[in-house]
């Protein structure tokens, strides 16, 4: 499956949109990491576990609880957000 992914500026230094391939959100992120290897350390607390400030949407829909296992179809748009909720 081919999708687009938008990455928050914290992850890549500037907001980036790129084409990725994969049948799940996790596959697509792994594909994006091939282009931006440094993003892995910024979004994963440990392998398979996203950091708490990362939230992923597909076509505007929240992916929780599946998150990395959330299915991706051709033409989908993935949005990888970073937000700081603490105060």
């Amino acid at each position: 499956m081919s999708a687009t992914i938008t990455l928050h500026p914290y992850i890549t230094g500037a907001e980036i949109q790129l084409e990725v391939n994969g049948s799940t959100v996790g596959d697509c992120i792994a594909d994006a990491i091939k282009t931006y290897p440094a993003m892995e350390g910024k979004i994963f607390a440990k392998p398979g576990k996203l950091k708490g400030y990362v939230e992923i949407y597909v076509n505007g829909n929240p992916t929780v609880p599946k998150e990395l296992d959330y299915p991706v179809n051709d033409g989908d748009h993935i949005n990888l957000l970073v937000y700081l909720a603490g105060g």
């Binding site: 914290y10 907001e15 708490g52 949407y57 505007g60 929240p62 929780v64 909720a85 603490g86 105060g87």
Partner: protein, 254 residues
């Protein structure tokens, strides 16, 4: 101080001395100080961000501060919530904060409110408020406040922290994006977040400077941009923000 005193345009000899070092700032002067004296600022949350925000707004001479928090002081708060001390554990946060703020500056009005901000009370709480300081620890309440501020045309200075990360932007209804332009309302993750006190203090200081600039009219505001700081490697990123014409909250505003 009464509301009449607060709206009085003059500054006393004591005030001229007390605030003299900031009055000396070019472009700020006595007029800027008078504007701070006339202002009513609501601080939503007196925790990690709200403590230093309240301290610096009080020391700067904001005429009226309303501080809101429904919580009580816990030992685990003390690494960052600097208005609360060991003897305050178990006390209501607004009582603990109000007591210290009065000692910091007895010449300003401080209104502590121990309550939870809800969709039912937020409009009343905003009343004659000139500015809201977003010092909340959760997104749900932030979105509530954001929507009410947009409805009433009240600016809000957003701050958020976690670990060694911080973000800040100034939101002005009708001019800038609102919080809901930037983030979906249904953010799902709710968890106890890691945080260093100094991270909160850094963002809080910037929030107060934004407040002083906004209220006095001096300097340029952090509008239509978000400053995102990663203190783990001292990276500062300025992110351009876009207003969403289709935004459910502010889409109808120019």
């Amino acid at each position: 101080m009464t509301d009449n005193d607060r709206t009085c345009v003059g500054l006393s000899e004591d005030e001229l001395l007390r605030y003299g070092r900031q009055i000396m700032t070019p472009g700020f002067g006595e007029e800027g100080q008078k504007r701070l004296k006339q202002a009513h600022v609501l601080i939503a949350g007196v925790g990690g961000l709200g403590s230093p925000v309240a301290i610096y707004l009080a020391t700067a001479g904001i005429g009226r501060l309303t501080i809101i928090d429904f919580d009580s002081v816990d030992l685990s708060n003390l690494n960052r919530q600097i208005l609360h001390w060991e003897d305050d554990v178990g006390r209501r946060k607004v009582d603990s904060a109000g007591q210290k703020l009065t000692k910091i500056n007895s010449r300003i009005d401080i209104h502590p409110l121990s309550l939870k901000i809800t969709g039912e009370n937020i409009q009343d709480l905003l009343g004659d408020v000139d500015l809201v300081m977003d010092c909340m620890d959760n997104m749900d309440t932030r979105f509530l406040i954001n929507e009410a501020c947009v409805k009433k045309g009240i600016p809000m200075i957003h701050g958020g922290v976690r670990e060694m990360l911080g973000e800040i932007t100034t939101l002005v209804p009708g001019k800038t994006p609102c919080l809901e332009c930037l983030l979906p309302r249904d953010l799902s993750k709710k968890e106890t977040f890691p945080i260093f006190g100094a991270t909160a203090a850094m963002i809080a200081s910037l929030q107060v400077l934004e407040a002083i600039k906004l209220l006095s009219g001096v300097g340029a505001l952090l509008t239509d941009r978000m400053l995102f700081i990663d203190n783990s490697n001292l990276e500062f990123m300025m992110i351009d923000l876009q207003k969403k014409p289709e935004c459910r909250v502010c889409g109808g505003l120019l």
